[in-house]
Symmetry: C3
Subunit: 302 residues, 3 copies
């Protein structure tokens, strides 16, 4: 294990006992939701993992140390923090060298999970290919990471602000399996329907676990995207949310928002424009993914 990594006691015990562990990201806490919903959700998600047979390991960097599992106080610190870096792969060395605090996005969480030996990671949605690709060539580092780091990401698809067909094409280009869980369609984050068929479909946590085991045993490095549709009664209709997203995208462009600031800006504006409905749906889908992640991790141990 790297010198830079601290394993929380509960996670270390799970490793020693061969119990399933699910990685969780911290950017969703510090940059993805407002307080206090972020803290409530982070706690609920950890409990969802426990209730479904696995141990949660929320991942973050504190004072330049990589934390695999946060204490309740640390969770609260990230929920209230105002000076927390947002870490993608490229930003990790800065946070380590400067001994700063950083919240991990999907790519950084995958890296730290892999280094700690955790194979299943549950989150809301992955990054992807941004709309107006020709104009900005903005493609999330999450996709590159999925092409090389061997962690499965359980999500409700790509964040809704993205170009879903181009994101699926790019994942194919990178050789990343994309599996819809219990449905033929790749989910659209807030919505069940995306209009895009997923390349693969599997129907049980056991099938997903067998798929992942075959992949890595055979020596096919890299991640996998498990697209878990949001629960129908908590999802938003695609046409209902799409207008808010388009308005937010226009606004971001007018304000010249770029790089790592794009996604948090858009998510915050969509929450305002939907009067909080998008936030409610977001919380529900993250919890739904945590439950599935725990079941997959448990099935991989069996």
């Amino acid at each position: 294990m790297s010198d830079y990594i601290d394993i929380a006691p509960e996670v270390a015990e799970a490793f020693a006992a061969g119990k399933p562990v699910v990685a969780l990201e911290s950017t969703i806490i510090s940059h993805g939701m407002p307080y206090p919903q972020n803290l409530e959700t982070a706690r609920a998600v950890e409990q969802d993992v426990r209730d479904n047979g696995a141990i949660p390991a929320t991942i973050a960097v504190i004072g330049g140390r990589c934390k695999i599992g946060l204490s309740p106080e640390e969770l609260e610190y990230f929920a209230k923090g105002t000076d927390i870096l947002k870490l993608s792969r490229r930003d990790i060395p800065y946070c380590l060298a400067k001994k700063r605090d950083g919240a991990t996005t999907v790519s950084a969480t995958m890296i730290l999970a892999e280094k700690a030996g955790i194979r299943v990671f549950a989150t809301g949605g992955i990054g992807g290919v941004h709309r107006d690709l020709a104009g900005n060539f903005d493609v999330s580092a999450d996709l590159t990471e999925l092409g090389k780091t061997s962690v499965a990401v359980v999500c409700a698809g790509a964040k809704a602000i993205l170009d879903i067909p181009k994101t699926l094409e790019h994942l194919e280009t990178l050789g990343v399996p994309v599996i819809a869980y219990g449905t033929d369609e790749f989910p659209a984050f807030y919505s069940v329907e995306s209009g895009q068929k997923a390349p693969l479909r599997l129907d049980t946590p056991e099938e997903l676990a067998a798929f992942l085991s075959s992949k890595w045993e055979f020596g096919l490095e890299g991640g996998a995207v498990i697209g878990n549709p949001p629960e129908a009664d908590k999802a938003l209709a695609r046409e209902a949310i799409e207008g808010a997203i388009e308005d937010a995208l226009i606004e971001a462009k007018e304000k010249g928002i770029q790089g790592r600031d794009v996604t948090p800006f858009l998510l915050a504006r969509v929450t305002e424009l939907t009067k909080g409905k998008s936030l409610e749906a977001n919380i529900a889908l993250v919890r739904n993914n945590a439950r599935l992640g725990a079941k997959i991790a448990a099935a991989m141990v069996d």
Copy 2:
């Protein structure tokens, strides 16, 4: 060797005796040509390899087992099969975990060839950057594979339905050598001329073998594209084929064909539109590539 791999007796003997082996793909049999031309071609191609001093290893997955070399019965099964998966890198674990049958595309054949220790692979054409890149961001996983998997692909260039200049640019971006054999121009699959100069030119199998040995001995992982122009008397004039390709592309767009279905649809339509001439040219060029592949593999052993 991975637990998932079965080496056919003839191939195992060749390995033991240090004889040259050429990998061949199976998607061209199951999804690339109609029956019975596909079976005739598969047999002829294997014979072409033998006649030029190497042992053929047609690669496929049967019942979740990776086969390096197929028996005559297995070859026929793939030629007639209707429930055979088309496997790119991302699809392999599904086929293994479900114990299904799968035909390997260029990317999957490269992966299995490398795992079996085969360095030369002959096929028709590689995938590449699709036309209308800005509209669909559709770039074949074959290019990604060429960037990391150490197998040389002997082909008549990229499939003619693709954007050849952009495919060449992307191979440069990925650090993949592209060599025209015995000509300055990169071939255009059905046609000798593409209008694009190849980055490198070599004129004998021995020169190609020396190039590949230098690459891998020096530790430059990844593949190489050896562009072998189709025989002049069996090639089609570029302007003759281009109209059929454009019509097929428009049709595919209208029908909303996407992902792994695009290439088989276009190839079948072009065959219809050219009244079979494109199929004849395709068969001839695959055989031409098999002969060159065998000579390169033999030169690498010497």
Copy 3:
């Protein structure tokens, strides 16, 4: 060490004594500047490295042998040479197998530096995403190399002929850290200002060294871009140079210049159009980067 590599005596002594070494590229000599300015600059740059506490290792291929450090005669040979290949990653095996002479671009220099154990490399500017990406999909192999090869490139940003915002986006996609040295803005090669904020800022060679050590100690393979702004009194105003660049780009398109010929053509035309001012600025910035590279390499040894 690979059988293909020769370490110059002065560099071998530095390795043995644990002294800092800075890699320098040779394409800037053979294809990047006219004679005799190229030779004067190559000599001055080596002296700049020495004056700042490190040993220079100019990298090239001679007769198929990879040279880590050139003698004065070899430096002159590259400055006057007319039959010298321009080597990107994909071209190296050709040069080795044919026992030719080749000048290394950024990607090839990174590869040879890494194989020789050199971690810091100073040059003028990196390649990047070309303008008109949608039209030509032309993205430099330097960016791919930065995504996987563990060498820090000290530069004045990306070459000015490129699309700087898209280059920064693609580096983010690939997980490559981009650090502006002593400024918030990513430099624009000839100019201090690019209009683009750099993702990270560090202010001393010691901070840069600590960043790089954290990155590689933690096991995050791949390079880093250290954007060193040109000295204010030797830089050109962005609007002054931009007109010449745009004229040169139009001319290159009209003449159908492609692939590895694009950058040398544009640099030569910009020099003509600016009546040599761009060449003067180029020389000054390369020397400025060599000085910073030496300081970083020295700080990494301490």
